[in-house]
């Protein structure tokens, strides 16, 4: 039940929480700031990362955990000594997924940040859509390339994990 509750967190359109989130950030005194944006991404990244880790851990055979339990290991001991050492791949998946998602995010960036706190996607959008002055396509395209480059690098370096992240929810879910 808890899992499906969290799963819904992955699928809601984030527009539905914009206004309350803005109010909350305002109440916390971190609206339009970088820390506010960070908090938003943490909160709504939780659903995805939980999904990833959960889907990874269900593939671990129960016998492994039971054996450790019989050997007297407690919850945290099992976690540190057994689960964590085999979790490296899913950590990579989560990190890459979150990196690309946050880098590519536009909605939260445009709503919850202003001025110099804006992420690059918002800046690119503003740059390209300025109607004043002469269009400088070279500058615009350079900006687009810069905006696309980090994800390209991440993707080329760890495409396998990226792929796993993309398909984590859909195939095993």
């Amino acid at each position: 039940v808890l899992f499906s509750l969290l799963l819904i967190g992955c699928f809601i359109p984030f527009q539905v929480i914009l206004l309350p989130m803005a109010r909350t950030l305002g109440a916390l005194g971190i609206s339009q700031s970088l820390s506010g944006l960070i908090m938003v991404h943490i909160v709504y990244g939780l659903a995805f990362t939980t999904l990833f880790f959960r889907n990874y851990y269900v593939t671990i055979p129960d016998e492994l955990i039971k054996a450790a339990r019989i050997d007297g290991a407690g919850f945290f001991r099992i976690f540190w000594k057994i689960i964590l050492p085999i979790s490296a791949p899913i950590f990579v998946v989560s990190i890459i997924w979150q990196t690309t998602q946050i880098w590519n995010d536009f909605l939260f960036g445009v709503v919850f940040s202003t001025g110099e706190n804006q992420p690059i996607t918002v800046a690119l959008n503003n740059l390209v859509n300025t109607s004043t002055g002469v269009k400088k396509y070279n500058v615009d395209m350079a900006a687009a390339i810069i905006a696309a480059l980090p994800t390209l690098v991440v993707y080329l370096l760890a495409g396998k994990y990226f792929m796993r992240g993309l398909t984590a929810g859909s195939v095993k879910g």
């Binding site: 206004l19 909160v43 919850f75 590519n104 959008n125």
Partner: protein
């Protein structure tokens, strides 16, 4: 009463035991609270505000459906809804179609599969903003595609969807499909891989033609595999006998001018264990072809073209076991349109891949009567349909073959076709 002392022996739950039960819940609590608060709480909050008189700032006075009525009487809302319908429908349909097509094409064991997959999937790693910006330039009539075609000389060409209010939504579809169809492809590929890797599952893609039952065989094989035995007898005609019965047609498998291949079929179902043995890993790999044999043995099929000097010393005599593996690259051959096609895997050795060690030879008996149209062509088409084809010769001497000594003319033209070789055509249809 005998139970009560027994039950009393159970120790009470100690503090540590309770802790063991509680701790996982405690660990999970922050995430749960965050999800409840920031997802469900905020959804409810938004819903509540929608029923109030709020304007720029929230005013928590209940107003019923006032805001909804305002919304539904707003023309722009309906325009947006219609656009969403167009975009959503086309986006989903096109993404699935293109993604499936890409997945099928990529799943043919083609060269550079990984690189292509990487390329197709990369747009998914891009930001929507970048995609939108780039496509805006591409579709811009004065800047992108239209200008390019104009500069190529086709000045009549117009592609101005981007500035056409009626068509602009379709440009969004183009960009969206470009971004996501690679992802859909990846999903299809992942689903396909998931369906074949667990050893217990039957193959997802089966060739319909070989789905006929195999009598008592309980093997989950692509249901029917046959061993076809064909005897190669240059310049002799022999009847094709599926299942031992005389076949009405006479197969004449011309191996060039010098020899004919005559086929005699014997069909027998394949034991279940064989399939299991062969199904390790990717099914396509299992049925795969042994490439080192491909070249050398293909040359031996064309015996007539080889000079006498090139023959093996035992040419014309009983030939030791031979294997021919054909796997031409001809996706979606006419035999089984739609059948998954695989070619070129340099694998198979790990399954004891040498056919000599696989006593059970399979063929698609149902199609073997087509052998009359020429062995090579037939095997080509089988392979095109996704089958791996093996022809292996066994030492002659079987009473069921025909006259064993080839006519002298066959030898004079340089054929090394063994005098009376039992050959077995092996054909197997790999599954996805």
């Amino acid at each position: 009463m005998t139970d009560s002392p027994h039950t009393k022996q159970y120790p009470r739950r100690s503090f540590m035991d309770v802790l063991e039960i509680v701790v996982p819940k405690v660990v999970l609590a922050p995430t749960t609270i965050a999800a409840l608060l920031f997802v469900y709480g905020f959804i409810l909050w938004t819903a509540w505000i929608s029923f109030t008189k709020s304007r720029l700032l929230p005013r928590y006075e209940f107003a019923g459906f006032y805001q909804y009525i305002k919304l539904f009487t707003n023309d722009r809302w309906w325009v947006a809804s219609k656009n969403l319908l167009i975009f959503g429908g086309l986006f989903v349909v096109l993404c699935i179609l293109i993604g499936l097509l890409l997945a099928i094409l990529l799943d043919q064991r083609i060269r550079a599969e990984g690189a292509l997959r990487t390329i197709y999937l990369y747009p998914m790693a891009l930001s929507f903003i970048v995609t939108g910006t780039a496509w805006k330039w591409i579709l811009n009539p004065g800047l992108g595609l239209e200008r390019l075609v104009h500069q190529m000389g086709f000045t009549d060409f117009t592609f101005d969807w981007l500035v056409d209010p009626e068509m602009a939504i379709y440009t969004v579809v183009i960009a969206g499909v470009w971004q996501s169809s690679g992802f859909v492809m990846a999903l299809f590929l992942a689903g396909c891989a998931a369906s074949t890797t667990p050893s217990s599952r039957p193959p997802r893609w089966t060739v319909p033609a070989c789905r006929a039952s195999t009598g008592g065989s309980s093997s989950p094989v692509c249901a029917r595999s046959f061993s076809a035995r064909s005897s190669f007898c240059p310049h002799r005609h022999q009847e094709l006998r599926p299942g031992g019965r005389p076949h009405p047609r006479r197969p004449r498998l011309c191996l060039g001018s010098a020899g004919h291949l005559h086929v005699r079929l014997r069909l027998h179902p394949q034991p279940a264990g064989l399939w299991r043995r062969q199904r390790h890993g990717d099914a396509g790999r299992v049925m795969a072809i042994i490439i080192p044999y491909l070249y050398s043995e293909l040359r031996q099929v064309q015996w007539i073209k080889r000079p006498e000097s090139a023959q093996k010393p035992n040419a014309g005599q009983c030939r030791p076991r031979q294997a021919v593996h054909l796997q031409p690259a001809d996706p979606f051959g006419p035999l089984f349109p739609g059948a998954p096609f695989r070619h070129g895997p340099h694998i198979g050795q790990e399954h004891g891949g040498h056919p000599h060690r696989q006593p059970d030879l399979h063929a698609l008996g149902h199609h073997l009567r087509c052998l009359e149209r020429g062995l090579e062509q037939r095997l080509h088409r089988w392979s095109a349909a996704g089958a791996s084809v093996t022809i292996s010769g066994t030492p002659s001497g079987s009473p069921s073959r025909g006259r064993s000594s080839p006519p002298s003319s066959g030898r004079s033209t340089g054929t090394s076709f063994p005098s009376g070789v039992f050959a077995e055509a092996r054909c197997f249809f790999p599954c996805c």
